[in-house]
């Protein structure tokens, strides 16, 4: 039950942001999409989410074309985008509430709160939490919907280095437990290799796939792996592509 991107093109004001892009993402995989800013990687993610429509081509989820946003493909954005008028618990339950079920599965909500390590903060408002905590809430809010695909658009880009590392470890552990498909967009080479089981590198103007390689590092991942030959070889290849883009 894969995600298929079939010949997706996106044109903005005559400029091609995405050029005939095709990709097949297997169920349960962790795909990282690496690219410089402006290469169209966020556009691709928005099209996958259904927030934008492709100019040509289509996205198939289990063979069914995607026509709009849906809770089976939840996005975690660069900024948490929590609702300040809701408590942490209500923020996480927001999607469930929108689904309109008469009784909310609070036990599931609390399980997810425990999963992200924020037990005891249920009643806190978002502005009372640190940036890293807020982003964990944003992830929890997505997870509680049991999405088939978790789409992540540079979710740790706005965090400081230490918090980012903690969050990367947290996400890796989480993915091993939930086994959902994750599509993770980033411009950070190390992050892309460290997290993904498969690395796609995009080049810009027009947005195309220039590299598509499995990440052969074992799991659990560890930051010491960044000196292994496999890591370095992949990093070198990715850097060559990104460097070719900046003149």
């Amino acid at each position: 039950m894969p995600i298929e991107i079939e010949g997706v093109t996106k044109t903005f004001n005559g400029q091609r942001a995405l050029d005939e892009l095709s990709l097949r993402v297997e169920d349960g995989s962790f795909l990282t999409i690496l690219g410089a800013s402006g290469c169209g990687k966020s556009t691709l993610l928005n099209i996958l989410a259904g927030l934008e429509t492709p100019s040509t081509g289509r996205i198939l989820l289990d063979g069914t074309p995607v026509t709009g946003p849906g809770p089976d493909r939840v996005v975690v954005f660069q900024k948490p985008g929590l609702y300040p008028w809701l408590s942490l618990r209500d923020n996480i339950a927001f999607g469930l509430r929108m689904r309109g079920s008469s009784s909310l599965p609070w036990r599931e909500v609390d399980r997810v709160i425990e999963l992200i390590g924020l037990k005891g903060f249920e009643k806190h408002r978002p502005y009372e939490l640190s940036g890293g905590m807020q982003q964990r809430v944003a992830i929890a809010r997505a997870l509680v919907m049991h999405p088939r695909v978790l789409l992540m658009d540079e979710p740790f880009g706005a965090l400081d280095a230490q918090t980012r590392e903690t969050m990367q470890e947290f996400l890796t552990e989480l993915w091993e437990r939930i086994q959902a498909t994750v599509i993770f967009v980033t411009h950070d080479i190390d992050e892309a290799i460290m997290l993904g089981s498969r690395l796609v590198v995009m080049s810009a103007r027009p947005g195309r796939i220039s590299l598509d390689e499995p990440v052969t590092l074992g799991r659990p991942r560890d930051w010491d792996m960044i000196t292994t030959p496999d890591f370095l070889a992949l990093k070198r290849a990715a850097r060559r592509i990104l460097a070719g883009q900046t003149h």
């Binding site: 927030l51 849906g70 809770p71 493909r73 609702y83 008028w85 927001f94 929108m98 689904r99 502005y127």
Partner: protein, 275 residues
């Protein structure tokens, strides 16, 4: 030793600058007030202006005492305060009850915006005084035209504030709701409305001031009670001390109502300014 004294304060207070400002502003306000009254006293002692134009603070204080005990024009100032506050509050609430839903509709439905906006832009720059003859011809000289005048004067502020609150909803909040499967209706109710609330409150705070501004105009319409009437009536009799006392009461009441709205605001939108 000094560090020991300073550190606990710095740790206990996460917003030292904010607190400092607040404290200073109270002090500054009282000092400025005292200085103004002192200057006023000096100017009236020196008789730079004739006492009939600028009575000394003592005369205004006497006017206050008389207004609150014997009254002016056959009733005490409490009646004027009551009737004026009632007019302002009803006119203002009317502007909120009509203005907020209308603003929300205008922000969401382009057709309604195109229908209402020309009228809104038209009535906005017209001074409330100009409506008086029309309101009298249409609605007579009772309470209705007075309240309507306040309502018409206040409603543009409320509508414009509401529209701008809706438009200022961060796109990220909308995108989040969309990917979580919310319908357009749910997004409006659960995301746009709460996002617009802080600006609606700002509009209400500006609006209550405007409502009081319209009051004096409203009480030009055949009134024999009310603070606006009091100020005009005393003015015609050259009772400047009473005029000043009336102005001070209007100012205090306007400020008190603004504070009341701010209190509701702090309880309703505690997240304001803290994203």
């Amino acid at each position: 030793m000094l560090a020991k004294l300073v550190r606990p304060v710095a740790e206990a207070d996460p917003y030292p600058h904010g607190r400092g400002l607040k404290h200073a502003s109270w002090l500054t306000t009282s000092l400025v007030l005292l200085a103004a009254i002192g200057l006023w006293e000096i100017v009236s002692i020196l008789q730079l202006f004739p006492p009939i134009a600028l009575p000394p603070p003592k005369a205004v204080w006497r006017a206050f005492v008389i207004l609150f005990t014997r009254g002016y024009g056959g009733h005490t100032i409490w009646t004027d305060i009551g009737i004026s506050s009632l007019r302002v509050v009803i006119g203002f609430l009317g502007a909120i009850i009509i203005g907020v839903p209308l603003g929300l509709l205008m922000a969401r439905v382009p057709l309604i915006f195109r229908i209402v906006d020309p009228f809104l832009q038209f009535i906005r720059p017209v001074p409330p005084l100009a409506y008086i003859p029309l309101l009298v011809v249409w609605f007579g000289i009772g309470e209705l035209p007075k309240i309507l005048l306040i309502l018409v004067g206040t409603i543009p502020v409320i509508i414009i504030g509401t529209i701008s609150g809706v438009k200022a909803t961060p796109p990220l909040r909308l995108a989040v709701a969309r990917t979580l499967g919310a319908s357009e209706r749910q997004i409006f109710r659960h995301v746009i409305l709460p996002s617009a609330l802080p600006e609606i409150f700002t509009a209400a705070r500006v609006g209550i001031g405007v409502a009081w501004t319209c009051l004096v105009a409203a009480e030009l319409i055949a009134a024999d009670q009310g603070l606006g009437w009091l100020v005009q009536y005393a003015g015609q009799a050259l009772q400047v001390a009473v005029v000043i006392a009336g102005i001070i009461v209007i100012g205090i009441l306007g400020y008190a109502m603004e504070l009341a709205i701010r209190l509701v605001e702090n309880r309703t939108v505690p997240w304001r300014g803290r994203q």
